[in-house]
């Protein structure tokens, strides 16, 4: 079974809406980082340290020259990775044998053009070969996915993760839920990545609206999640949350990659027993 599906099924036992006592259930932590950053050959090191620190799933960003949905921090990490010589081909080389040491679900996230140039069919085959579980390609249209790519994704056991935003209509959320598997990436606010921090009252109202829709798929909340507090607040309204830009900043400033990564992940997840409701 797909590792992502597995993860959410197992965590369901401890999560299903039992936060009413004011106690916070432990949410799942998904961490994003850019492949080939800070240095070209750091990809696997970062991935392993994230797992050791306690990340529940990991998104590896495939760097792109024109990431329109990303703010400055992730743009910079993309530029740096490309300067380092990162490419889709090299990423697959780096991930070869990853499953000998990495057991957490791994997703690749990126823009569609590099995937198209690699070739959808060979890209998906390669993902399956190295043990990737799912893809997040924000600029891939749903109709193109359903008409042309879904059968290829399915054949290689890859889940496609869709995004919803506060502006997504209820009708479209239902449609996305219908065609999704694994989880739904819930973008917390109208913004590019890394531009707004924190979890506001408006956001919580939107999370509650989603909660009330009783969707088939669990949700992970991303954009604006940066530390323990925001992680826990987001997790109160979903299966967990996603950290991207804040983690890239840790990598930018790190002098001891392994330890800094582990202690960051622990600081986000730890003392999650209780915060005031």
């Amino acid at each position: 079974m797909n590792r992502i599906v597995n993860l959410f099924q197992n965590s369901d036992k401890s999560s299903g809406g039992e936060s009413s006592a004011g106690l916070t259930r432990p949410g799942l932590l998904n961490v994003y980082f850019t492949a080939g950053f800070p240095e070209l050959n750091d990809t696997l090191r970062v991935l392993q340290a994230l797992q050791e620190g306690g990340a529940d799933l990991v998104e590896i960003g495939m760097p792109y020259s024109d990431p329109v949905a990303d703010g400055e921090t992730i743009q910079q990490s993309n530029d740096r990775a490309l300067e380092n010589g990162m490419s889709v081909r090299i990423l697959f080389d780096q991930l070869q044998g990853m499953r000998e040491t990495v057991s957490v679900p791994v997703l690749l996230m990126g823009y569609i053009n590099p995937v198209l140039q690699y070739g959808i069919e060979s890209f998906c085959a390669k993902c399956a070969e190295v043990g990737v579980d799912g893809l997040i390609l924000p600029d891939m249209p749903m109709d193109v996915y359903l008409d042309e790519y879904k059968s290829i994704f399915d054949a290689h056991g890859l889940l496609n993760i869709f995004l919803v935003t506060p502006q997504t209509s209820e009708k479209r959320i239902r449609q996305i839920d219908e065609v999704s598997a694994g989880f739904i990436y819930t973008v917390s606010s109208a913004s590019v990545t890394g531009s707004k921090s924190g979890v506001s009252g408006d956001m919580e109202a939107y999370f509650e609206r989603l909660d009330a829709m009783n969707l088939r798929n669990p949700r992970l909340i991303g954009f604006g999640i940066k530390d323990h507090d925001t992680f826990v607040r987001a997790s109160n309204h979903a299966a967990g949350a996603i950290i991207g830009s804040a983690f890239i900043r840790v990598l930018q400033e790190s002098t001891d990659l392994e330890n800094d990564i582990k202690s960051f992940v622990r600081s986000v997840k730890s003392s999650s027993e209780a915060i005031p409701a």
């Binding site: 329109v68 530029d79 081909r89 053009n113 590099p114 600029d139 109208a190």
Partner: protein, 399 residues
């Protein structure tokens, strides 16, 4: 303007594609905005009150119809019959205003309060700032840092018109990056902002909407050429192509006249093999850029290659999806001209006809000698803009 029922084979289909090109490859954050536009743009454009306001403004404010001028000395030189479509005489100095008038009226009808735009040479930025002043809407224009330096007069015009000009400092710091920043701005301001894209690029319905607003160019050419010569159609229509909006407008009403040769001229920069070029069709491959499947200059890994041209308006690594389809289907002929050829052509037109063209338009002029048009044939070339903004570059070439 065309209604859906009259749509032609080289026009967009109901799924937003031109052949295999087009579509809307956008992140979910942009989906509601683009969907709102897609659902409404044809209804708005076909509404008689919109059409009246649009054509009144084109006549009284822009100064349309622009002349179709028989360039006698240029014709003599190239031994054929050359007519210039004088878009350089539009208010603000280029064809760009045809589109911004249409889009500002669209934005008003969609209830938008703010406008964001990208600009390369600054012509689209000026045309956007102009209509924002006219309609009293807040205006933010993104412009690459390099373009801000090389197009200073247009930056000053935008500021005087009340627009905020924000520098795009990522990547090549030109039009591509200004477009990225404008898209990010739209993601961050999804509810009350309309994005006025300046060319026939971007996700569906932009390429079609912008082409419709620019189609007035070829609508006028047909009528004017007939009045001049009695002919229904010319043998050649020529336009320069960056994203391709003046070319799309120039070709629009000739797409199905297969005997009319559609000639698009890209910027070769320092030369096609120099590594410093913006000739997308010559050097690019199919892929996705700025929301549509099109042809773009890219590495084997699918990274967008930074383009190069002396002309800020053509300094773009992609091309509108309709042009990609015209190129792939063979309906259009795509040529290119280098920086030097363009500057030379600008001086030639200036000295022969007393018209200083924009550097962009000069690329179209530069291929007249290679066209092979005969004495009996008729050539219509769209002079998309005037050269005032490029005087800094031209002055360097005056002895």
């Amino acid at each position: 303007m065309e209604s859906i029922a009259e749509k032609k084979s080289y026009q967009v289909n109901d799924r937003g594609y031109y052949g295999t090109f087009g579509g809307a490859f956008i992140p979910e954050m942009l989906y509601p905005n683009v969907e709102e536009l897609r659902e409404n743009y044809l209804k708005v454009i076909e509404d008689p009150s919109f059409q009246k306001e649009y054509s009144d403004l084109l006549r009284d404010y822009v100064g349309r119809p622009t002349p179709l001028y028989r360039a006698n000395r240029l014709s003599e030189k190239y031994k054929t019959n050359i007519y210039l479509k004088r878009e350089d005489l539009c208010h603000t100095g280029a064809h760009k205003v045809n589109n911004t008038i249409g889009q500002i009226l669209m934005a008003q009808r969609l209830g938008k309060k703010r406008i964001v735009a990208e600009t390369g040479a600054g012509q689209h930025g000026v045309a956007t700032a102009t209509v924002c002043a006219l309609m009293n809407l807040e205006c933010t224009v993104y412009m690459g840092e390099i373009d801000i330096e090389r197009q200073a007069p247009n930056v000053a015009r935008m500021k005087m018109l009340g627009a905020e000009v924000r520098p795009a400092s990522s990547g090549s710091r030109t039009l591509k990056d200004a477009t990225n920043e404008a898209m990010r701005h739209w993601i961050n301001n999804p509810v009350d902002t309309h994005y006025i894209i300046g060319s026939v690029v971007g996700p569906h319905p932009y390429p079609d909407m912008v082409a419709r607003f620019q189609s007035v160019i070829s609508e006028e050419i047909r009528a004017q050429l007939n009045a001049h010569t009695g002919k229904e159609t010319p043998d050649y229509v020529i336009a320069c192509v960056g994203g391709g909006s003046n070319a799309a407008g120039t070709f629009y009403h000739f797409l199905d006249d297969e005997d009319v040769k559609l000639v698009a001229v890209e910027a070769a920069g320092l030369g096609l093999t120099s590594g410093h070029s913006a000739a997308t069709v010559a050097l690019g491959k199919p892929g996705v850029l700025h929301g549509s499947r099109t042809i773009l200059m890219q590495t084997e890994d699918g990274q967008v290659v930074e383009p190069f041209s002396i002309s800020a308006g053509l300094d773009y690594p992609g091309i509108g999806p309709q042009h990609a389809w015209l190129a792939a289907s063979g309906r259009g002929t795509f040529l290119s001209a280098t920086d030097d050829e363009a500057v030379q052509a600008a001086f030639e037109l200036t000295r022969l006809e007393g018209i200083i063209p924009a550097l962009e338009s000069s690329h179209a002029l530069a291929i007249l000698g290679r066209l092979g048009a005969s004495e009996n044939e008729t050539v219509v070339l769209t002079l998309s803009g005037r050269g005032d903004k490029d005087m800094g570059t031209y002055m360097k070439h005056i002895d």
